[in-house]
């Protein structure tokens, strides 16, 4: 362990020297906000989407994403899929190199996945390989049952071939392989310095379009172009700086002062003013985060589907987003895939009705269940303390009060407490939200399986069965159709009220070219340019 006093003094000297130096703000640097600090720069450990941007620039997977979220070849130039859809064979490009010039080989990708699954790594994202996609042998390694690398369904038969074998077919495996979940591992540097190597710009070795130059906790990460990247000739921006931007108002001011080119977020109360003054710089699009209000099926009268439907109907989703929350979220009447153009899922039955008709129907349903103005239903909504979440909950409570006479109280709690409260079951209505593992409907529908998430206390063998059917389907179009059939079962039970698809919100400077909104949330710097 490092001597605390010594390092404090050293750090102090560093800060003084940093404070005295006056580096010129180079115009060849793209400055991007990333919100709160990354929790880790270790490619096998990091679990944050925002830190994922840094990783997508520094490391390249077998495949990657273009600015719109489409899967494109990455380190692999092509791949074959077996007829049963369970085996993917990736062919690496010729002459791939790490940033230090070492050859990049297929085994490096295998090692990356092995290290993610290794319990000693204590990585939270091993589940991508045994839950989101079912790679053979992944679960046994993650649970510590075996350490034998040969049991894993990810292998490198030769230096330029990676083979991934899955238990069930899954076309979304490409989304996983391209994400920041699957970086290769440069074994020599990791073996020499352990996990500390990933925050040491002098030692860390990367294979992406960029490599590390500076890492300052709570401040920034500076990346520079990697000359050994296979497509370095087409990487236009020489440097990219990821800045920790915890305070969203400060971030906007820094953007306006020209200190930041692309923000992490936009303050909700500024969106309208910015849209009016600089419409071309406001980039708002759907993300893979879905907001829905779950009902506690174990608490009467919420076990009564009429009550749940009434509550869902009485929420005027358009008014809620346009007049109350005003954060740019998209009102939603379904659960999964509102951002996935290839998925044509169902909506709740009353989606096409006018709100006045829905309100009338809601009153009727609630009266049928025995509640009305003289016998008001009392509910507790549990949500997080984030400003827009609280406003959303208050808006819903207000609509329930106005339309149905329901007396709903809003209990807002800090995020960790909110997560705990879910399993404690101390709620009637849970202000729920889910971020997809990839930009597809399946990630949401798989999560709602009663067998996968017991917290909803939803008993529905038909749903699990319908999902099992979809999981066996190889053809992506037919698979989406089967998923849609499953979603119908889900929506018909009204175990939650769908509310909205949350947006990605960025201010993008006019100097930045090549930017587009992406639900997957990947905007690799290598596809951008500065003017």
């Amino acid at each position: 362990m490092r001597n605390l006093l010594g390092s404090a003094l050293g750090g102090m000297a560093l800060a003084v020297s940093l404070a005295l130096a006056l580096p010129a703000l180079a115009d060849d640097t793209l400055d991007r906000g990333i919100g709160s600090e990354w929790s880790s720069l270790d490619p096998q450990v990091n679990f944050d989407a925002a830190a994922g941007w840094i990783q997508m620039d520094a490391y390249e997977g077998l495949v990657t994403f273009d600015g719109t979220g489409k899967v494109i070849p990455g380190a692999a130039e092509s791949w074959d899929v077996s007829a049963d859809g369970k085996t993917y064979t990736f062919h690496l490009r010729d002459g791939l190199k790490w940033s230090n010039g070492d050859p990049l080989v297929a085994q490096d990708f295998v090692n990356g996945i092995l290290r993610t699954l290794n319990p000693e790594t204590a990585s939270e994202k091993g589940y991508y390989f045994y839950s989101v996609i079912q790679v053979k042998g992944a679960k046994a390694i993650a649970d510590g049952e075996t350490k034998d690398a040969a049991t894993l369904g990810v292998t490198a038969p030769d230096a330029r071939t990676v083979v991934v074998e899955m238990e069930t077919p899954n076309p979304h495996m490409l989304d996983i392989m391209g994400g920041f979940q699957v970086a290769p591992l440069h074994s020599p540097s990791f073996a020499a310095d352990g996990a500390g190597v990933f925050i040491d710009p002098a030692k860390v070795v990367t294979n992406g379009a960029y490599m590390f130059k500076e890492v300052v906790p709570q401040s920034h990460v500076l990346l520079v172009k990697n000359p050994n990247y296979w497509d370095a000739a087409n990487v236009k921006i020489p440097q990219v700086r990821y800045l920790v931007t915890e305070d969203v108002n400060t971030e906007l001011k820094r953007y306006q002062a020209g200190e930041i080119d692309i923000t992490y977020d936009i303050p909700v109360n500024q969106i309208e003013a910015l849209k009016a003054s600089v419409p071309a710089e406001v980039s708002i699009g759907p993300s893979t985060e879905v907001t829905y209000y779950s009902f506690n099926l174990q608490r009467p009268p919420l076990d009564n589907i009429d009550v749940r439907r009434a509550l869902s109907l009485a929420i005027d989703r358009e008014t809620l987003q346009a007049k109350i929350v005003k954060g740019g979220a998209i009102p939603s009447y379904s659960y999964a895939g509102g951002f996935d153009p290839d998925y044509h899922g169902p909506q709740i039955a009353e989606a096409t009705m006018a709100q006045a008709d829905r309100d009338a129907m809601a009153k009727e349903l609630l009266a049928k269940a025995g509640y009305g103005p003289d016998n008001p239903l009392k509910l507790k909504i549990v949500t997080t303390v984030a400003e827009d979440r609280v406003r959303l909950a208050q808006g819903v409570a207000l609509m329930w009060k106005k339309t149905l006479g329901v007396e709903a109280s809003v209990d807002s709690m800090e995020r960790k407490a909110w997560l705990d409260a879910f399993y404690a079951g101390d709620w009637d209505v849970f202000g729920d939200n889910l971020v997809g593992d990839f930009a597809g409907a399946e990630t949401f529908l798989a999560y709602m399986r009663p067998s996968a998430e017991p917290g909803y206390n939803w008993v529905k063998p038909e749903y699990d069965a319908a999902m099992d059917v979809a999981a066996e389907e190889v053809d992506p179009v037919a698979r989406n159709e089967k998923l849609a059939a499953a979603e119908k079962i889900l929506l018909d039970d009204s175990i939650f009220a769908p509310i909205a698809i949350e947006p990605t919100r960025h201010m993008v400077s006019p100097h930045v070219k090549g930017w587009s909104t992406s639900a997957a949330g990947y905007n690799n710097t290598q596809f951008l340019s500065l003017e």
Partner: protein, 307 residues
């Protein structure tokens, strides 16, 4: 004197021990844990991660482990910032907090005393009223109002300084130092003014004047020393408060100081990091109080002889 210091250090040690114990156990009462981030992680994997960080052990064993670590100055690993130990995080954040803290207290002391003396010498003059207004504004307007306001004026409109961050070196520290100093300028100037007015009425000042010494020398050579006693008493705790209380400043100006680690750590249930920073803040407060007492004793013979 040495016995006095020894006793104060011993008391401080006891206070810290109580602080460590209390914080350790109270922190665990908060719902959620460092790794409850998402509902999608399987219980087996979560258990593995907990084991790596010894969170599966009974709490008294975790406490014993922590205290044992403390004995070797090992504050443990950070669970929020997975790449760093608590020692690393403090080492990276503390210099920034200390740098802006010390500059702020310097500015506050110099400007505050100057304003206070000026006000006392020319009571009810324009200078006095101006100092009074600065005082009221500095104390009454909170940092989260004045900070963004100054950003808009000096960074966005005038472009003299950056809005935030550390990319532009010392220029980035000007606004945070000023904003942090402002309430203290206000307080110190009021303190100095009233203290100076009182001192100027003292017999020894009258004697000095009677000897025909010029007013400037009377103030500088005789009155100032007496005037500064309450200011110095205030400076110790104020320095600690400035260094530990710069959380808002660090957030508003996007500075990588320790205050932000503290908030982030608490929200993310990073037990070791919360412990480490609490311990540091506690030690800082105790030390600065001891130093203040020593300086007061050195300036004021009455305090020395009283003990």
């Amino acid at each position: 004197m040495l016995r006095f210091i020894g006793k104060r250090l011993w008391d401080g040690g006891l206070t810290l021990a109580a602080l460590v114990t209390l914080t350790f156990f109270v922190m665990r009462l908060a719902p959620g844990g460092p790794f409850s981030k998402s509902r999608k992680i399987s219980p087996e994997v979560l258990a593995n991660i907990q084991k790596t960080y010894h969170l599966d052990e009974p709490i008294w064993m975790q406490f014993a482990r922590y205290v044992k670590g403390l004995a070797t100055f090992d504050l443990g690993p950070s669970t929020r910032f997975r790449d760093y130990s608590v020692g690393d995080m403090i080492a990276s954040g503390l210099p920034w907090s200390v740098t802006i803290g010390i500059w702020a207290i310097l500015v506050a002391t110099l400007v505050g005393i100057a304003l206070g003396v000026a006000g006392a010498m020319r009571r009810n003059s324009a200078t006095d009223y101006a100092a009074g207004i600065v005082g009221v504004v500095g104390v009454a307007v909170p940092i989260f109002v004045i900070g963004p306001l100054m950003q808009v004026i000096f960074a966005l409109r005038l472009g003299w300084v950056p809005v935030g961050g550390i990319a532009e070196g010392w220029r980035a520290l000007i606004l945070p130092v000023l904003v942090l100093a402002l309430p203290n300028i206000a307080y110190i100037s009021r303190l100095t003014r009233s203290s100076m007015i009182e001192t100027l009425r003292e017999n020894y000042v009258r004697t000095a004047r009677a000897k025909g010494i010029g007013e400037g020398r009377v103030v500088r050579g005789h009155a100032l020393k007496g005037t500064l006693l309450p200011v110095i008493a205030y400076l110790g705790p104020a320095t600690a408060a400035i260094i530990t209380g710069s959380i808002l400043i660090e957030t508003i100006f996007a500075l990588p100081g320790i205050g932000r680690h503290f908030v982030d750590a608490a929200l993310n249930r990073d037990y070791p990091l919360v412990m480490g920073i609490t311990l540091l803040y506690g030690a800082l407060l105790i030390l600065l109080n001891i130093v203040t007492d020593l300086i007061r004793a050195w300036i004021d013979p009455r305090l020395r002889n009283g003990r």
